[in-house]
């Protein structure tokens, strides 16, 4: 039997079990720990799909920092969930409907690793993944390209993910950084200045 298939089945089964356990936990600290385990399993799952950068981010953000922030929040809010096990048929129906729609949506997607998937046949794919792509020939750097072989990404940035994120999608990444900065600023503006804070009232 295919080893990858066994790995996938085991990981997916553990994911479902962890998700159920997260919902069923009454102690919120335990629920946060289950969240963390869920993220770690997701990171393993990305690894089996060769998406190493995503796995890295999942492990660092999901299992690392969000666990810490949730624990920090629980210190403020208390760790015991108010027990309320009301069964709501409408909620169950909504969940099942959404799940069914999502599964229906995936039926149209190409199979995993399919060579003929649109992501691999679209003309832009070559530009994203080839390493010896010249820079914009019409731009100023393109003029230099004529007499410099080094005017390629070739050899300089072996990691295609970084190449795509920072070179091809530089604006996108710049404003992601700004979004993160905005999150930090919001925390400062909203929460710094509560009582007992020596730095009452704002930035710097």
């Amino acid at each position: 039997m295919n080893a990858y298939l066994i790995l996938d089945v085991v990981l997916l089964a553990l994911l479902v079990l962890t998700a159920i356990a997260t919902v069923e936990m009454r102690n919120l600290y335990s629920a946060v720990m289950m969240f963390s385990i869920y993220s770690l399993l997701m990171a393993c799952f990305w690894m089996t799909m060769d998406a190493v950068d995503v796995a890295y981010a999942e492990a660092a953000v999901g299992a690392g920092i969000s666990t810490i922030l949730l624990i920090g929040t629980l210190v403020l809010t208390g760790s015991q969930e108010t027990v309320r096990r009301a069964f709501s048929p409408a909620a169950l129906a909504a969940c099942l409907l959404c799940g069914a729609l999502l599964v229906y949506g995936t039926l149209d997607m190409p199979a995993f690793g399919d060579r003929n998937a649109p992501a691999h046949t679209h003309p832009i794919y070559e530009g994203y993944t080839r390493q010896d792509v010249p820079k914009d020939p019409a731009g100023k750097s393109g003029q230099v390209a004529a007499d410099h072989n080094s005017n390629f990404f070739h050899g300089h940035v072996p990691n295609q993910v970084t190449s795509v994120i920072v070179a091809y999608r530089a604006y996108d990444t710049l404003f992601e950084a700004v979004v993160i900065l905005t999150a930090g600023l919001s925390m400062i503006l909203l929460l710094r200045g509560r009582k007992g804070n020596p730095q009452r009232g704002g930035l710097l």
Binding site: Y29, V52, D53, A55, Y56, A57, A60, V61, G64, I65, I68, L69, I71, G72, T73, V75, L76, S79, K135, K140, S141, V144, A145, H148, S150, N151, F152, F153, G155, H156, V157, P158, N159, V161, T162, S163, I165, V166, A167, A170, Y171, T173, L174, A177, V178, I180, L181, A183, G184, L185, M187, I188, L191, R192, R194, K195, G196, Q199, L203, L204
Partner: protein
């Protein structure tokens, strides 16, 4: 938590490795998986672990909030600065080929490195800020990890 010997020993052994791994992720960003975002989070997690085990006042003495405020802005300015520099040199915004005019390919790699450092600094500072602001005002500042 400060009296818990097990936590103290484990944290003391782990934190140097976490910071080293974060630095590796940062420096290696354009060569392998990883980059500024993950590196910033890993390093921030190391300092936050320190704060949870040894007390938040100690953590804030090492990484004061004024420092993280400045770092958050500095990181974005490094990133945007590479773009503004390209503009000033007559290139398009964020065209990193402007950094070394004779060798645009190498300039691109240098530009990516600068961008990764900018992102790493911002992410580290913002994660520290979020943790600082969430945990402040808890009855005893060192109690962030107690039930």
């Amino acid at each position: 938590m400060r009296d818990n010997v097990l936590m103290r020993v484990i944290a003391r052994w782990n934190i140097p490795f976490m910071i080293t791994f974060g630095a590796y992720t940062q420096v290696h960003g354009e060569l392998g998986p990883g980059g500024g975002f993950q590196a910033g989070i890993i390093v921030a997690a190391a300092f936050i672990l320190y704060g949870m085990v040894f007390g938040l006042p100690d953590m804030r003495r090492i990484v004061p909030r004024r420092l993280t405020d400045v770092m958050a802005l500095l990181g974005v300015m490094i990133y945007a600065g590479t773009g503004v520099y390209a503009l000033a040199m007559g290139y398009e915004f964020l065209d990193h080929a402007a950094l070394i005019e004779s060798d645009p390919g190498a300039a691109e790699a240098w530009g990516m490195t600068a961008v990764e450092y900018g992102v790493g600094i911002t992410v580290f500072a913002v994660m520290m800020t979020i943790f600082n602001e969430i945990t402040e005002g808890t009855h005893e500042e060192g109690a962030a990890s107690e039930g």
